[in-house]
């Protein structure tokens, strides 16, 4: 459907056939009936067959069925924990600067081996606008938008202030999103 559109001429004069109305009514009724009967069959089939895929209607029974999210979906912001167990973040503060809602605050520090790391990394989930600019700013692929969209609301705003431990997610779980970021990045470089 996307990409095609039909121009509507609103000043059209009706032909005699259209002004007789009855035939156009029948045509309209046939169109809606043409939606009704296939849907009726498919819904009945899905209900008794137990296969939601049989249902041709796009509606998702939400809590029971979960939508398949595209890779570009921007859910809760998470920090990436590298395979060695350390956070990838080097506390450069670029995400802090990029954030238009100013919901990130970082205190950086040095490890014994000389690498930088965030001592504290606080992200206020109540302020975050899920724009994804922190992800784009990050030179280390250390902060990404996950596909998590449930359980982000709390009755108390203080509970929505996430600390570093609440944000860290193992790298393996974010493979798809990281691949997407790389593709998008190189895509940018290539045009």
């Amino acid at each position: 459907m996307s990409g095609t559109y039909k121009k509507v001429n609103r000043n059209v004069t009706l032909t005699l056939w259209e002004r007789m109305y009855v035939f156009e009514v029948v045509r309209g009724v046939l169109i809606t009936a043409g939606h009704f009967f296939p849907n009726f069959v498919s819904v009945t089939k899905a209900y008794f067959g137990g296969k939601p895929a049989d249902r041709k209607i796009m509606t998702i029974y939400y809590p029971e069925e979960k939508p398949v999210l595209p890779e570009a979906y921007r859910g809760k912001v998470v920090l990436v924990r590298a395979k060695d167990g350390r956070e990838k973040c080097v506390a450069c503060g670029l995400c802090e600067v990029a954030c238009p809602a100013k919901c990130i605050s970082i205190v950086g520090g040095l490890r014994d081996d000389g690498t930088r790391y965030p001592v504290t990394y606080t992200l206020n989930g109540a302020v975050c606008i899920f724009c994804g600019l922190c992800e784009e700013a990050c030179p280390e692929e250390a902060i990404v938008m996950s596909d998590r969209y449930e359980g982000l609301c709390e009755y108390d705003r203080k509970l929505m202030i996430y600390d570093k431990e609440a944000l860290l997610v193992p790298e393996e779980k974010l493979g798809k999103r990281l691949a997407y970021i790389r593709r998008r990045m190189y895509g940018k470089w290539n045009y």
């Binding site: 009855v22 009514v25 309209g28 009724v29 169109i31 809606t32 009936a33 939606h35 009704f36 849907n39 009726f40 819904v43 209900y47 249902r55 041709k56 209607i57 796009m58 509606t59 029974y61």
Partner: protein
């Protein structure tokens, strides 16, 4: 003294009458009134590529959303019955009853089966076999209009009043055309009695739809307008008048207007089936032929079986018509008020008069 005691025949007639009344009442109030709400929700949903109401459940069983009817009933019963300040309280109270009772009563003259000889007792499957038949339906339907008009007036609300006035104007316009559109049917069948018209339609090619195609079209349009549902729902136009004449009604009184609308739909379908779609007859199957087919059951049970088949056929036809009415209701957008009036007075009324002339001319030629 013995004459005053009820005879067996009288008792049988009484039992027959009671059975018929209970049957029609159960069909209307027990089956159609609650079920049509569900049908409307689900059918409109499927027509618009949606799923429709399906969340109400008892122990996890949703039964295709049928339980929403139950939740509706509970909600409407427990809601506050609100009467606005300055409303005419008695009339405000009376209006929903005037609206809902006629739509029930009108079904009294619609035959849902023919004559059956059950154990020597002649059973006629219509509650009141009136000579005026269809005119009774018109008369009763007009009384139903009072319900809406009074509701509009008694609510002390501008929207309600506008809705009430629109109901009055629309019903007046279409009542005239409706009556005239059926004159052709009376001429063809030579009777106003709906049972006679039903018997005359035993032959498939004598169905009203074949003998009176234009009359059918005009009557169906007028009946849609009488029903005050979407193509003709100017009296309750949500976008303009909130809910029209029943804006100020809540709880069970609102439910009664709602029910009246659905029951009117059943009545309209019944009239359409009785007049134009062969009533209780199966195409190409005669009454006698069906009795003969069930002959192996014995004389009486053959009659019973025939009766059951005919009643089922009648209600199936009614259901199909309800489906079509719903289809039209969820397909067409609302007419403007002036378009409703123009259609009624300038198109349907002249066409129905022309239909009478054509019918008369054809009947003269055939004779």
């Amino acid at each position: 003294m013995a004459d005053l005691l009820p005879s067996t025949e009288m008792l049988a007639s009484l039992a027959e009458m009671m059975a018929k009344i209970v049957f029609i009442f159960t069909m209307n109030m027990g089956v159609f009134a609650p079920l049509l709400g569900w049908v409307e929700r689900k059918q409109s949903a499927l027509m618009q590529d949606r799923i429709g109401a399906n969340r109400a459940d008892i122990l996890g069983f949703t039964v295709f959303g049928l339980l929403h009817t139950l939740t509706d009933a509970i909600k409407l019963l427990t809601k506050e019955d609100f009467i606005p300040q300055g409303a005419d309280r008695p009339l405000h109270y009376l209006a929903p009853f005037i609206a809902v009772v006629p739509s029930l009563v009108a079904f009294a003259v619609i035959p849902f089966g023919g004559h059956y000889n059950l154990w020597g007792h002649d059973t006629n499957l219509v509650i009141a076999d009136l000579d005026v038949g269809i005119l009774f339906v018109f008369a009763i339907a007009s009384i139903g209009t009072y319900g809406s008009v009074i509701a509009g007036w008694a609510s002390n609300n501008n929207w309600s009043l506008l809705g009430g006035i629109r109901v009055g104007a629309q019903m007046l316009s279409y009542e005239v055309a409706m009556g005239l559109s059926l004159v052709g049917v009376f001429m063809v069948y030579g009777s106003l009695r709906l049972t006679d018209i039903g018997v005359a339609q035993e032959n498939f090619f004598h169905w009203g739809i074949f003998l009176q195609p234009l009359g059918f079209l005009l009557f169906a349009t007028c009946a849609l307008a009488e029903n005050k549902r979407t193509p003709f729902d100017v009296p309750e136009a949500e976008a303009e008048l909130v809910a029209g004449y029943f804006t100020e009604y809540s709880g069970l009184k609102f439910a009664m207007f709602w029910m009246a609308e659905f029951l009117e739909m059943v009545t309209i379908s019944g009239v359409l089936v009785a007049l134009f779609f062969g009533g209780w007859h199966i195409p190409f199957v005669t009454h006698a032929g069906l009795v003969k087919f069930f002959g192996f059951l014995g004389t009486n049970f053959a009659q019973v079986a025939t009766m059951l088949v005919h009643v089922t056929v009648f209600w199936t036809k009614v259901l199909v018509w309800i489906f079509v009415l719903m289809l039209i209701r969820w397909t067409l957008p609302r007419f403007r008020y002036d378009q409703v009036m123009k259609l009624g007075w300038k198109i349907i009324l002249p066409l129905s008069i022309i239909n009478i002339f054509i019918t008369g001319a054809v009947m003269l030629m055939v004779k």
